[in-house]
């Protein structure tokens, strides 16, 4: 039940302090003292000594400043690195990184005989092992790890339950087998396989996996540009607690310096209608099934692990890029900050000029706290949100994309859509395998890399059991129900601008 763990608190404190230094323009001056300050903030020691804790804090600070943890940055003073960070380097395509010194090198032996082993007479474990890997040593079963093939039969056969199955949480969380034990058993991410979903970040009990933040650049834009628009993902509802309304959040964002706040759900309306038309045009004449393309980690999953069915992916951009490019079309001098629950969006935005920076809800909260803005003190009176339809807002939850797509089809065509949804990378991967092998009868696949959809994203602040209820209320109270009822959708889709397509040619 403890949703905000000590690890979460540590990560958030780092983000707040780095943001504070940047807001107050003292990053270069005071960053070198920050690890010490952070260590003093808590009495409890988590690691072997204070020095190791400071070293880990230094690594977290680098990521918070948007720097990668590559070799050449090792052992450099933070102030020197902060100089580099303030040039806002683009950085590698991948977002998720392992903090080597924070990784506990968890055991890699999957099956392990515990002291509950009673050296019984039947030795069922020994009997069932197909490789003869089990012997009896000092009155206990012993597994020769060189022979073990991790089939698990021994565990199943033991009537005392004395054989344990041990997982590395990060490896288990990864749906694409991208994370493996590397040198010295420290976790290592294969970035050719990783889709940046961020599941490993939340799974690691040592907080040894994290992503790079773009908070420095975001603050810099707010301080130096006139027109900075906050593009907020629909999952934002309830992120600041059940007592804080969407309008109150918007008011706080304006107070922080955003000139305008726009719902990404506007882009979702555009995508739902465009993708609905694409479905009718291409399925079944050109392709047998279509998949969604709004979730960037799902898109990467197809590109990296199912390249054979790339053609089946919707040709439209994500709601984020649709809305961002619409804003830039209206005023090219606008700076756009996407605010969402997502890590993979950071990578997606690197390849498109529509979005300038991406921050998570967690990082947004750090910016607010560091500037002394308390969202719970706003009431949002006088603020109206009318950017999007209820079904567009529903994109944040699993199944929402399918519902919006279905409802944007003409009534007499709706029974042509036979959709199926997948949530979490494991399930998405499984479904994509089924589609690839023609085992699936559905003709539309909605893929969301996080369980529960965006509401379950790694950058969220609130439990999705609370936020899913609040999202439902928000959609219920929205008078504009359908994407087609949104006047902006009508206007934009008549023109059908190029930026709506992933391949802009």
């Amino acid at each position: 039940m403890n949703h905000v763990s000590e690890i979460t608190k540590i990560r958030r404190r780092v983000l707040i302090e780095v943001a504070r230094l940047q807001w107050e323009n003292r990053l270069l001056k005071d960053i070198d003292d920050l690890p010490e300050k952070l260590v003093q903030q808590h009495d409890q020691r988590y690691r072997c000594c204070e020095y190791k804790e400071k070293a880990i804090y230094a690594e977290r600070i680098k990521l918070a400043m948007g720097l990668t943890l590559k070799e050449e940055y090792h052992k450099k003073p933070l102030s020197e690195l902060a100089k580099k960070a303030l040039e806002f380097p683009v950085g590698p395509d991948y977002q998720v990184e392992v903090i080597d010194i924070a990784c506990d090198s968890c055991p890699i032996n999957k099956f392990f005989v515990s002291n509950a082993c009673r050296n019984c007479l039947i030795h069922s474990c020994q009997q069932v092992c197909p490789r003869g890997a089990i012997s009896i040593v000092q009155n206990q079963a012993y597994i020769d790890q060189n022979k073990c093939v991790e089939c698990g039969l021994c565990k199943k056969s033991c009537r005392f339950g004395a054989i344990l199955e041990i997982h590395r949480p990060c490896e288990q969380a990864c749906g694409v087998g991208a994370i493996k034990s590397g040198e010295n058993r420290i976790s290592n991410i294969d970035h050719n396989k990783c889709v940046d979903c961020g599941a490993c970040i939340t799974s690691c009990p040592f907080g040894a996996i994290s992503d790079r933040a773009q908070i420095l650049k975001t603050i810099n834009m707010l301080q130096t540009n006139e027109k900075v628009v906050a593009l907020v993902a629909p999952a934002i509802v309830g992120q600041f607690g059940r007592k804080v309304s969407l309008n109150a959040i918007i008011e706080a964002l304006q107070k922080m310096g955003f000139s305008q706040v726009v719902e990404v759900a506007l882009g979702a309306d555009l995508v739902a209608v465009a993708e609905g038309a694409e479905f009718l045009r291409r399925v079944p004449h050109e392709i047998e099934y279509l998949t969604s393309s709004c979730c960037p980690a799902f898109v990467k999953l197809i590109e990296k692990h199912h390249p054979n069915i790339k053609e089946n992916m919707s040709t439209y951009v994500s709601p984020m890029l649709a809305a961002a490019n619409l804003l830039k079309e209206q005023d090219p001098n606008t700076k756009v900050v996407f605010i969402g629950p997502c890590v993979a969006k950071k990578g997606e935005a690197m390849h498109d000029e529509g979005v300038d920076t991406v921050i998570t809800f967690e990082e947004l909260a750090a910016l607010l706290v560091a500037k002394g803005i308390n969202v719970s003190e706003f009431d949002g009176a006088g603020i109206e949100t009318k950017d999007a339809s209820a079904l567009g807002q529903g994109f944040a939850s699993t199944g929402g994309v399918s519902m919006a797509l279905l409802n944007s089809l003409p009534k007499d065509k709706q029974d042509e859509l036979n959709y199926i949804k997948a949530e979490g990378v494991h399930q998405c991967n499984e479904e994509l395998n089924n589609f690839e092998k023609n085992l699936e009868k559905a003709n539309y696949l909605e893929g969301m890399a996080c369980e529960g959809g965006c509401l379950g994203g790694p950058g969220t602040l609130s439990d999705q059991r609370i936020t899913s209820r609040l999202l439902k209320d928000l959609c219920r109270d929205n008078e504009v129900k359908q994407p087609l009822d949104n006047p902006v959708v009508q206007e934009v889709l008549v023109r059908h601008p190029r930026y709506l397509h992933r391949n802009k040619d």
Partner: protein, 79 residues
Amino acid sequence: MKKVRIELCVGTSCHMLGSADLSLVVDLLQQEYEEQVEVGYCTCLGACAKGPNVKVNGKVLSEVTPEKLKTEVVNILSA
């Protein structure tokens, strides 16, 4: 009958540091002790860096965890 008045800070700083988890514990305490537990919310208790903060019978507690809050309340009620 002993009573406890809990004021939970739901300010942004405390929210980031876990006040929503405390809110779940408070719900459970209210179910168990009914009218003995009175709950209110506030937006700041003036100790943001040491959040999450909770006021229990007028005393501000800092760095509160769900376990800590539960123990505190149960101790008062059973004292």
